[in-house]
């Protein structure tokens, strides 16, 4: 008869799943007692954020915490679930990389109301009284520096296209605004197209291929992140324009730093995910030990990476 067998199958699958969870959990658990710290990260779908999240977790573990990563998958509602869960299961602190500057405020406030300090990393939330501290990457200033370098490289006349990130993302616009605050001062530099490639390498490839059809005579491409810069470079390579059209990225991803060294990409901007993650973890440690005075915001400067200084960078930071 089939039924008891099905029941057995069902039960054993559940047990296997739970054992698996237990094993995975054991791997994550070293410190005893309640020293649980959560790392809530906007997405794990991009190596940059994986580095951010894992560095935060590893630093927290070094400091003796039981740290776990939660992936919000770029969805504030999922992030909200994570916060509900970690509030009810008594976490001590949250190292937080938000999905949205505004949409995430409510979550941070809920944690604060439950006496759980939140330490923002990389991305800002637009409130001064919610997070305990915010270690922020200054995207705008990074793109100001990049814009200056752009003008030096291209000169004061020329045509370029801009590939934006996800249009709903605040950093997309911080980067774009920083760049334009410089480049728009030079009326000879004409932006012939501005399109979104959603921070995605293959989308950037497609978008730029299409744009090159209409604008074969561009001098440069400014990309809102490094993945798009690599995609743009591939499109240029296919069109036989690699080297003739300069590509600018942002993030400091490993492959792009290498590409800068090889002269494929003109410049990128190094953000320091490891520095931010470590500082946030250390702040959390200090908070739990009793310290309460933290600056609300600590901007972490970002640095321009060009062929001239590329040998100093690598592995998501300075060597």
């Amino acid at each position: 008869m089939k039924i008891p067998r099905l029941l057995r199958v069902l039960a054993s699958i559940c047990l296997v799943a739970l054992t698996l969870s237990k094993v995975a959990a054991a791997a994550d658990t070293k410190a005893a007692g309640n020293r649980k710290v959560a790392v809530v990260v906007s997405t794990l779908n991009n190596p940059w954020f994986v580095v951010l999240a894992e560095t935060a977790r590893d630093r927290a573990k070094e400091l003796g915490f039981d740290a776990t990563i939660f992936d919000s998958q770029n969805d504030p509602a999922k992030e909200s679930q994570h916060f509900d869960n970690l509030i009810s299961s008594g976490y001590r602190a949250v190292l937080f990389n938000c999905t949205d500057a505004k949409g995430s405020i409510a979550n941070v406030r809920r944690a604060k109301a439950a006496n759980i300090p939140v330490f923002c990393m990389d991305r800002e939330i637009e409130a001064n009284d919610a997070a305990t501290s915010q270690i922020l990457s200054d995207n705008y200033s990074g793109c100001v520096a990049l814009g200056q370098f752009f003008v030096e490289q291209i000169g004061e006349t020329g045509k370029y296209v801009e590939l934006l990130g996800i249009v709903a993302d605040t950093n997309t616009w911080n980067r774009s605004k920083g760049f334009h605050s410089v480049v728009d001062r030079f009326p000879g530099l004409k932006m012939v197209a501005q399109q979104s490639a959603e921070f995605d390498r293959s989308k950037a490839l497609e978008v730029l291929e299409a744009l090159l059809q209409r604008n074969p005579d561009i001098n440069a491409v400014f990309c809102g992140n490094d993945a798009m810069a690599m995609g743009a470079y591939q499109a240029l390579l296919a069109a036989g324009k690699a080297g003739k059209v300069k590509v600018f990225g942002f993030d400091g991803a490993d492959d792009v730093v290498k590409a800068v060294a090889e002269g494929k990409i003109a410049a990128t901007v190094m953000q320091f995910p490891k520095t931010m993650a470590r500082t946030a973890a250390e702040n959390a440690d200090k908070y739990i030990k009793g310290e309460r005075k933290f600056p609300q915001r600590t901007p972490v400067a970002v640095e321009l990476v060009t062929k001239a200084n590329v040998n100093k960078f690598g592995d998501y930071g300075r060597k």
Partner: protein, 326 residues
């Protein structure tokens, strides 16, 4: 074939068994699991998926599929938030409509319903496969959301509206109230109304339903419209909970919703299943999410385990179906 009665009743309760096993195991493994706080968490967390999944259940029962519910959720949330925040300018009349909370809510649900109606219209009038029609709507609704919001989240919607997401009556969170009310209504609709019976008939055998004199296009139109409107309600809950309408809200939710419906024992080929099963499906997913969290499972493993659960659920359903039909 007198034994098939027994099979049937087991089938009805198999999800319940799975849920009971999971709850029991989690209660043993984590002392945080069986707390009132955590129970409310789980219920609150499944409320959005359940709203979507009720509509999805109707659609799947009718033999279709709706891939656009997540996108409609985003659109409805954005429309409600936008109307609440900025109103609606009437260009020619030098005037503006300032929406009340009720108005914005009605508008959000209506937009969801309209998008769903369009799905149904494309499916019945132009005979598009539901997969294709709703795939198109997925993209259309996402695009409309971007146009309406300009790609930026709409925030600070006020506490009256926020009550929908964060408030509580008699100690029960609002999303849970809404969810229970919808579940109750749609259990009645599917089990006790002609319309409900007709959905099962259309999904079970569309040709037979037509030859029995049922107005199949009208039934489908109603089903997709309801699914859209329910996605609108889900959009309201998400928006109210976050106090912010995200332009990309609901990304990928259609898959969670289909998963819940399937785990709940509703057959993807239509005509077989129930709202009750879907409630269990949502609870299983909710408890699983929460349990994996409480057990500190790495997010990468969580996805693998969730996938396995879906496969096992459907495999068991298939095995049972084979036993029944032989």
């Amino acid at each position: 074939m007198s034994g098939s009665k027994f099979t049937f009743s087991f089938r009805k309760f198999q999800s319940l068994f799975a849920l009971a096993i999971m709850v029991g195991a989690l209660a043993l493994l984590s002392d945080k699991f069986f707390t009132p706080d955590n129970s409310w968490n789980i219920l609150r967390q499944i409320s959005v998926n359940l709203c979507l999944s009720i509509g999805m259940t109707l659609v799947i029962l009718s033999g279709g599929i709706d891939l656009s519910v997540g996108a409609i959720l985003g659109l409805a949330g954005a429309v409600t938030a936008g109307l609440l925040k900025n109103g609606l300018a009437l260009r020619g009349l030098e005037a503006r409509l300032e929406f009340t909370v009720t108005g914005a809510i009605v508008a959000g649900i209506a937009v969801g319903g309209a998008a769903g109606w369009f799905n149904g219209f494309a499916i019945t009038r132009f005979r598009l496969p539901p997969f294709v029609a709703t795939l198109g709507m997925l993209s259309i609704a996402r695009g409309l959301t971007m146009l309406w919001t300009g790609g930026f989240p709409v925030t600070s919607l006020g506490s009256t509206f926020g009550f929908l997401g964060t408030g509580a009556i008699l100690g029960m969170p609002m999303p849970v109230w809404i969810m229970l009310a919808l579940v109750g209504s749609f259990v009645v609709v599917t089990q006790r109304t002609r319309f409900g019976r007709h959905i099962y008939a259309v999904g079970g055998n569309e040709r037979a339903a037509r030859l029995t004199g049922l107005n199949v296009p009208r039934i489908k139109l109603a089903v997709y419209t309801l699914a859209g409107a329910l996605a609108g309600v889900a959009g309201l809950i998400v928006t109210a909970r976050l106090d912010s309408a995200q332009p990309n809200a609901g990304l990928g939710y259609e898959l969670d919703s289909i998963a819940a419906v399937v785990i709940g024992g509703t057959s993807l080929s239509g005509g077989r299943g129930s709202i009750g099963g879907t409630v269990l499906g949502c609870l299983i997913i909710g408890v699983l999410n929460n349990g994996l969290f409480l057990l500190n499972v790495s997010p990468f493993w969580q996805q693998v385990i969730k996938g396995l659960v879906i496969l096992v659920a459907v495999a068991i359903d298939k095995l049972n179906a084979r036993g029944r039909e032989s």
